[in-house]
């Protein structure tokens, strides 16, 4: 999907299910080609503005996930349920958008022989970092992986050719591939979000469809008031997320690679 069409969708108030191309979207596109042009111009301006004023980010409080281990499960289940992420019987087919792992895995580049006990035994969530300088976008030969102006790194499942170059390029292992048809393995299908076909890559999309409709990401909502996950606009100095970043010391996953992640961890 080209930028114009994407902008049109945004302006038209349809949640930006870029490239998911539901029939309603297609019909409206056919009906509204003229408006589309006008809207596209306006949309380009809006994107420009978004680039200057919005960059979405997420703060993850590792301590809170240690204190209440059920939070992790809630976040993972909420995401996978709402995004139709399948559960395969075989590990080799596995697809995951967000999952719980050990500190030493998430931060493998900073090993510590004398790791504190809490971090040794407890798990923390990892997901796509929505890098400001994303290698996955750089290598994709079809622009099926692209970066929105608001910092979210999204996927066009209808354009992806399944070359998996982005999987080799992502230094965080955030991406999964549909090795087989996922549909039979989705437990409760959510009709508001498309299921994927076999042969395409997918990953956490920072809930772009919810965020652009003014909602919080599903995982953030799922952990409720615990504040274990806080989502917000990094470019707004008054946002909650910026307040937290001001007060607490945070770390990022492998920042030395220059990817500039948008996900921060409070240790």
């Amino acid at each position: 999907m080209d930028t114009n069409r994407r902008n049109f969708l945004k302006v038209a108030g349809i949640s930006t299910l870029a490239g998911l191309g539901g029939t309603t979207i297609v019909n409206r596109l056919i009906a509204g080609v003229d408006e589309a042009h006008a809207a596209a111009a306006a949309g380009a301006e809006m994107e420009q503005k978004a680039a200057e004023t919005i960059r979405y980010g997420l703060v993850i409080d590792i301590k809170k996930f240690q204190q209440d281990p059920s939070l992790g499960e809630k976040a993972v289940n909420a995401c996978h349920q709402i995004h139709n992420v399948p559960k395969f019987p075989e590990k080799r087919d596995e697809i995951k958008w967000i999952w719980m792992t050990h500190f030493e895995n998430a931060f493998a580049e900073s090993p510590n022989l004398y790791q504190d006990e809490a971090n040794q035994t407890h798990l923390l969530p990892i997901l796509c970092n929505h890098c400001d300088n994303p290698p996955c976008v750089r290598v994709c030969p079809t622009k099926a992986t692209y970066r929105y102006e608001d910092g979210i790194v999204g996927m066009d499942y209808h354009r992806c050719i399944g070359c998996r170059f982005c999987m080799a390029a992502c230094p965080y292992g955030s991406r999964s591939f549909n090795w087989r048809d996922p549909r039979p393995f989705i437990e409760n299908i959510n009709r508001d979000y498309p299921a994927r076909t076999r042969g395409v890559v997918e990953k956490c999309n920072f809930c772009v469809e919810r965020v652009q409709a003014g909602l919080q990401p599903a995982c953030v909502e799922a952990v409720g008031d615990s504040k274990a996950l806080v989502f917000g606009n990094l470019k707004d100095p008054n946002s909650e997320i910026r307040q937290i970043l001001k007060e607490k010391q945070t770390i990022q996953r492998n920042p030395s690679l220059g990817t500039i992640p948008s996900v921060f961890y409070i240790v």
């Binding site: 990892i126 290698p135 290598v139 050719i161 399944g162 080799a168 292992g173 042969g199 492998n254």
Partner: protein
């Protein structure tokens, strides 16, 4: 000229039928994969490229290796290669077609392959790889065909073709350089993130490609009454020797950097390939036998092609030597290089790759298709040669 491919003796047809059998098996296996998905391979979200992309990488090298005939002949006017440059060009065509097939069978959505052209993305190295591979294929097909046609008519090739012949030389270097750039520009994959990958690829290509041509030439001498000439073979063996030693020298530099600096990220993949990688009390080593096979075959091959007796006195030993070098570098690049780059995973887990039987059949099918094309092309080329002689 195609009619030349339709006349052959019993062995010619038996050989084609033999390849045809593997092609059929490959097609059936691919159809299975097409309808079920790439779950019928050994790949996972951790080792997301496998046998297919590894074969692709190796075969780009074989294709580029053909330039080791074209360059001395056209640039240095090394006349002895006159009869066999066509073998190099046709080998490049067959290898490139195999490369493209390996890419296609690896794609999750092959019907969308055209998206690479419909949405050209210059910041993706895959886009450039596609450009140079197609460019090199077209150049080789054009030059090979025009020159062979002229030869058949026993006239000098038209002048304009030389422009394309010369153009094909930088293209040969570029296909393997850009293929190396698919790997060596990825952050966080330490084994690949090395400036020596491209030169190493070229060195290995300039050994493996000509090694295969020597083997072919020796076979053709026996079965098709075609003599490449002692001088040509001897020169090629010299090229193979230097290129092969350079490749192994570059690899040893990787060892030095990894083990002397003692930075774990720079060692892990080498450790995994050659000695086995210990992780949480378990040693992962499924590629170790292949890599030692590489080392041993290299040593055997290099001894055979450098020792004066085996090199000059015996076609059989020379052929075995070249075949050993070819196989050694296939193990190195067509198996080890791609797979080891994925380990350990970004979150420091070890997931070993074991190819699926279906995947192996598809791989064999593509190789068989390539050799089928190569056989037909060589048949045509030799048919023309024989026609001139007669």
């Amino acid at each position: 000229m195609f009619e030349k491919a339709l006349k052959g003796n019993k062995y010619y047809w038996m050989w084609l039928a033999f390849l045809g059998f593997f092609i059929a098996v490959g097609v059936v296996s691919y159809l299975r994969q097409y309808y079920v998905g790439l779950t019928l391979t050994g790949m996972t979200r951790d080792v997301s490229w496998g046998l297919y992309i590894a074969q692709f990488t190796f075969l780009v090298g074989v294709a580029a290796g053909g330039v080791m005939l074209v360059l001395p002949y056209y640039i240095h006017n090394f006349k002895a290669f006159g009869r066999i440059t066509i073998l190099g060009e046709f080998l490049a065509i067959a290898s490139l077609l195999m490369c493209m097939m390996f890419i296609m069978v690896d794609l999750g959505q092959p019907l969308r392959a055209l998206n690479v052209i419909l949405h050209p993305t210059p910041h993706s190295m895959l886009f450039w790889d596609m450009c140079v591979l197609w460019g090199y294929l077209i150049l080789n097909a054009l030059c090979g065909w025009v020159i062979l046609t002229a030869e058949r008519k026993q006239v000098a090739p038209p002048k304009w073709i030389y422009f394309f012949v010369y153009l094909s030389i930088p293209f040969a270097f570029s296909i393997h350089t850009v293929t190396a750039m698919l790997y060596c520009g990825l952050p966080g994959r330490h084994f690949w993130l090395s400036a020596i990958v491209a030169p190493r690829f070229l060195a290995s290509a300039f050994a493996a490609g000509p090694a295969l041509i020597v083997v072919m030439a020796l076979i053709l001498k026996r079965v098709a009454n075609f003599d490449a000439g002692k001088e040509a073979i001897d020169k090629m063996v010299t090229i193979i020797t230097y290129a092969a030693i350079t490749n192994v020298f570059f690899l040893s530099l990787e060892f030095f950097v990894g083990y002397y600096s003692d930075i774990p990220g720079h060692q892990h993949s080498l450790q995994y390939l050659f000695f086995g990688l210990e992780h949480h009390g378990h040693v992962y080593n499924n590629l170790v036998p292949f890599m030692w096979g590489f080392v041993i075959l290299f040593l055997v091959g290099i001894s055979l092609i450098t020792h004066p007796y085996t090199r000059r006195k015996s076609d059989l030993w020379l052929g075995i030597g070249c075949a050993s070098i070819f196989t050694a570098f296939w193990l190195d690049k067509g198996i080890g290089f791609v797979l080891a780059g994925f380990l350990p995973t970004p979150i420091h887990e070890i997931v070993e790759y074991y190819p699926n039987i279906n995947e192996i059949f598809v791989t064999l099918g593509v190789w068989a298709t390539g050799f089928f094309i190569l056989t037909v092309l060589y048949k045509i080329a030799l048919g023309v040669e024989h026609e001139i002689e007669a």
